[in-house]
């Protein structure tokens, strides 16, 4: 082995490592759209660079590939620990029990955020940790497969897996350059490998001297071809995708409506029409990017903006409420406190500042639980029945204050206990649609059971519609098979497909059936955050949701619509055990500075973690059992392979039989490594076959020559002339040859030879045949 400087550098595969790191980072690029703040970026780049550098250095030191990957993994874990878990490390080095708890808390927090937020989600510490951890693992696997293992084609798998996370979660058509970047980096990895393979065959000189033609001509012409094919692939993939008809929005891809190509389709497209029909279906399909509203808020978790509400459902649709001037408060009168909200419910006040308002009067979008309103110029009147602001003129800008319910597990006891008294409410608020009454009744019976508490009932209904019932978000409604055209609720419950209106209507009807007064609110989703920190609402952000009267809370917002085009369920309306037992984790996403305090409050976090582990126990056991079985199965083939390879040696009684057995071991071991078994020819021609099919160092060449000479003597010399020591040496030579061929085989072939040896299959087949014969 030569150990000069060039060797050192080329063994490290520094350039390949750099490209692999860039490929991993290009996979992470679209995540910038998925997460609000870029605080994860610096740690992510640091970790990927750390893994790549570690790999290159370890390879330069000629560390075996397995250890390189292991070293990178350890390095990655250490880096993660230092960046995210430093305070919990013992003397800043060793992980402690607190470290594990913090990891659990961070992951739980990330899980909560990712479940409750539509993209872009806030980058809390937990989300950042999760993203960086996954990226680190991706970097390790890409580097060890593509660079250390010299199989960049298989490195495409972790790359694609990472990319899928972004694709399936953006909820909008992805910009083509994200895809092109990953593709180009991956193709570069493949090209580098191809170049290295063709130009630095260790035996290139030898092959040439055997007259196998000029090796330098071939790769050059193939490289040109590969470059053209690669470039064409990228162009075709990007162009092809943009020429394909974009399918109607579905659960994952419904963000097509936000396709920036359609920004300037229609100048008037920004108009919002839902208040006439109480159905935002038209608006949801609106592709205009013209902002309806631009605002700032002090709250992190912004509730949807409410415009109006209605309680009248007639002939299968919601009817806009009649505004009787007599029912309105006098002009610019102070907004009354939200009715029914208990004094002991923890609530905070938040500010809401609209910078640009395009919504036409008489409508005004304000957060729910409005407490104060300052309009720029125009006067307002307030309808206390459905908490709607009615305008005469259109204000350019306005400010509002509103309450954010912040129960944090401390919802006062008895909320929702008291059933609503029917006589206190308008009868419309409790009227169930006659056409679909039976279907709603059956479903409520199934979902709610005998729950009495109004809040719990509402949460059960919400979870059923949002997660448990198998409903699907779709702007296209499928025609139901049974329900008639006059029964949209029945149709929705049958097809389980719809958008916010269907979900909200179903929840309203189900709640009313249980005697909970309910109405439907219409407004906007909080919109998207702009670079300057403001939020912008467009027509397609139109949204509807149910409001239920809960004793102790008053009119309360729920969010039964699943998917990305829906709001965040309010904290008090998340599933009860979460709300009661793990207040700190459920609350985390609402904090302004995303530093969760699980260490400060380990007591409430602990039982949740343990509870969750308890729930997971059967699954974990089953998985372990399956893994054990798989492990047992995985050892059968290697074992059978070993027996099959060594069958001849074991059965041998004389020295020449042993030599034949060793030769058999050689042919079978090499065939496991992908070197074809030579046809039955003389030993010397079999040697030529192996020399042509493998690349070995000189010592391997010599060992093969000795082995062949010994085999010749065993076969053709007078019996008894072969000594035991020669058979022993033959065994050593065979081992040398097999080791050298293994050493020069690609990584995947070596793994294949260990885990799935062809000799194992042959051995099992032979064993089965023997059994059958018996």
């Amino acid at each position: 082995m030569r150990h000069d400087e060039r060797d050192w550098v080329s063994r490290g595969l520094w350039a390949e490592g750099l490209v692999a790191a860039l490929a991993t980072l290009s996979v992470a690029w679209p995540l910038t759209d998925l997460l609000r703040e870029g605080s994860w970026l610096a740690p992510a780049v640091t970790m990927v660079v750390l893994v790549a550098l570690g790999g290159a250095v370890l390879r330069s030191l000629d560390v075996p590939p397995t250890l390189v990957a292991l070293g990178q993994l350890v390095l990655g874990l250490a880096g993660l620990a230092v960046i995210y878990l430093r305070e919990t490390l013992w003397r800043g080095v060793l992980p402690t029990r607190e470290t594990i708890e913090l990891v659990g808390a961070l992951l739980a927090q990330a899980g909560t955020v990712l479940q409750t937020y539509a993209a872009p989600a806030p980058t809390t510490q937990g989300v950042s940790f999760l993203v960086v951890a996954v990226l680190t693992l991706t970097a390790v696997s890409v580097d060890s497969m593509g660079v250390t293992g010299r199989a960049p084609a298989s490195a495409g798998i972790p790359l694609v897996a990472g990319f899928l996370v972004s694709v399936s979660n953006t909820g909008q058509a992805m910009e083509p350059w994200y895809f092109a970047a990953v593709l180009v980096m991956w193709l570069l990895m493949l090209a580098q490998q191809g170049r290295r393979l063709s130009l630095s065959w260790p035996s290139a000189g030898r092959r040439e001297s055997r007259g196998a033609g000029d090796v330098s001509e071939g790769p050059r012409s193939y490289r040109g071809l590969a470059q053209v094919v690669g470039a064409l692939t990228v162009v075709a993939a990007v162009l092809g995708a943009s020429f394909l008809p974009h399918l109607p929005p579905t659960f994952f891809g419904d963000g097509l409506a936000r396709n920036p190509e359609a920004r300037d389709v229609d100048a008037d497209a920004g108009d919002v029409a839902f208040t006439e029909t109480m159905d935002p279906g038209q608006d949801l399909r609106n592709q205009s990017r013209a902002p309806v509203l631009t605002y700032r808020t002090t709250a992190i978790s912004q509730p949807p903006l409410r415009v109006t509400a209605t309680e009248r459902f007639e002939d299968g649709r919601w009817v806009a409420p009649e505004r009787l001037t007599s029912a309105l408060l006098p002009q610019d009168a102070p907004i009354p406190d939200p009715p029914g909200l208990g004094e002991d419910v923890p609530a905070g006040e938040a500010e809401f500042q609209v910078l640009d308002n395009e919504l036409e009067p008489p409508h005004l979008a304000v957060p729910p639980l409005l407490t104060g309103l300052q309009l720029d110029g125009a006067g307002y009147r307030y309808d206390p029945r459905d908490a709607t602001v009615v305008l005469q003129g259109q204000p350019e800008q306005y400010d509002a204050t509103y309450l954010t319910l912040d129960p944090g597990g401390a919802l006062p006891a008895g909320v929702g206990e008291q059933p609503a008294l029917a006589e206190q409410f308008d009868e419309d608020l409790l009227a169930v649609d006659e056409v679909s009454r039976d279907q709603v009744a059956a479903l409520v019976e199934e979902v709610v059971g005998d729950e009495d508490n109004a809040l719990q009932t509402a949460v059960l209904i919400q979870s059923h519609l949002r997660t448990d019932g198998g409903y699907e978000y779709s702007l296209e409604l499928e025609p139901p098979a049974e329900a008639g055209a006059d029964d949209p609720i029945g149709g929705f419950l049958e097809t389980r497909q719809g958008y916010c209106v269907q979900f909200a209507t179903a929840m309203v009807m189900m709640a009313r059936h249980e005697g909970i007064p309910a109405r439907m609110a219409v407004g906007f989703l909080p919109g998207t955050t702009q670079e300057d920190g403001t939020r912008q609402v467009v027509a397609a952000d139109a949204h509807t949701w149910p409001e239920l009267w809960i004793d102790g809370l008053g009119w309360t917002r729920f969010e039964p619509t699943p998917g990305v085009r829906a709001g965040t369920p309010p904290a008090y309306a998340r599933s009860t055990d979460e709300g009661d037992a793990a207040p700190s984790t459920s609350e985390v996403p609402q904090e302004l500075t995303p530093t969760p305090e699980p260490t400060a409050a380990p007591a409430p976090a602990d039982p949740t973690l343990l509870d969750r582990l308890g729930d997971l126990l059967p699954t974990v056991l089953r998985t372990l059992l399956a893994l054990l079985l798989l492990g047992a199965l995985a050892t059968v083939l290697p074992w059978a392979g070993r027996r099959h390879r060594e069958a001849g040696v074991r059965a041998a009684t004389t020295a020449s039989e042993r030599v034949e057995g060793e030769w058999q071991r050689l042919t079978r071991s090499l065939s496991d490594l992908g070197v074809s078994t030579p046809p039955e020819r003389s030993p010397r021609s079999m040697r030529r076959h192996y020399l042509g099919g493998t690349t070995m160092e000189e010592s391997g060449d010599r060992a093969l020559g000795r082995a062949v000479a010994t085999l010749e003597r065993a076969r053709y010399a007078a019996p008894g002339t072969l000594g035991e020591d020669e058979a022993d040496r033959m065994g050593d030579d065979v081992r040398t040859v097999v080791d050298e061929v293994r050493h020069t085989s690609p990584w995947n072939q070596r793994v294949n030879a260990v885990l799935l040896p062809g000799s194992g299959v042959a051995g099992l087949r032979e064993g089965a045949r023997r059994l059958l014969r018996r």
């Binding site: 046809p679 020819r681 003389s682 007078a718």
Partner: protein, 325 residues
Amino acid sequence: MSVIPSAPDTVDLEAVKSVAGAVHRAIATVIEGKDEAVATAVTALLAEGHLLVEDVPGVGKTMLAKALARAIDCRVSRVQFTPDLLPSDITGVSVFNQDSREFEFRRGAIFANVVVGDEINRASPKTQSALLESMEERQVTVDGQTYPLPRPFLVMATQNPIEMEGTYPLPEAQRDRFMARISMGYPSASSEMTMLESHGSVSPLDRLTPVTTAADVERQIDNVRGLHISTALRQYVVELMSASRSHRMLRLGASPRAGLQLLRAARAHAALAGRDHVLPEDVQAMAVPVLAHRVLPTGEASLAHRGTADIVRDLVERTSVPSGR
């Protein structure tokens, strides 16, 4: 004298190599750049087989035969075959001796260690068969009396395949008697240059002095007989023979005698390589010279201009080598 000595226990490979090497070098001073042909000739000599040298006129057939004969200090006879040559000219004749009043046997040309038969296809079949019979049996029977031939005994016959007028080509059965056939082929340009230079004044044959004796050659022949042939190798030869019989390009495959001679030739080849055992490579090396003149191609093969040497090479290529287990 006709008793074949049993193989000695130990084989003196060095002696074989030195004698064969000396003969080879001696011939090489006469025949330029024909190492392969010379090697085959020496191999045949050690395997105690007869040689058929076949080629166009003037490439050195007779020269090779003469050189080989001259290199060994032994009795040499040369017969120029003509249509009027009689069998008794070859074998010998009983003549009535007036003095002793008895029939006296006058030995023919065949009674020599090396017999050079020039242009064997010009003699009548009757004469040819007289030669060929004694080649196989290594003895001559005249008037009921049997006379053994001396050892070593090597016949080198030359034959011109081009001129067909007035010739009697050797029938298949008789070609089978020759262990090996050599084609000389034209010399390379450089060899021809050297030849024109050195052969200009005096024939190098005249300068050739014997390098070994008949007795020595005989000892080496016995030595070669002692080489081990394993079961695996015998299996291989049997497979080659049977493959030649079913080859689709061959009308007539190799005879059992061909197998026997192939093994003997392979043995000599192995001894010359300094090995005390025979490898498949030895068999393969001798397959073309030993088999090519014995097999007959089908009409199809002749039409496709595939020579028998070509077909034999193909045969070797396709036949697997048994491992003997």
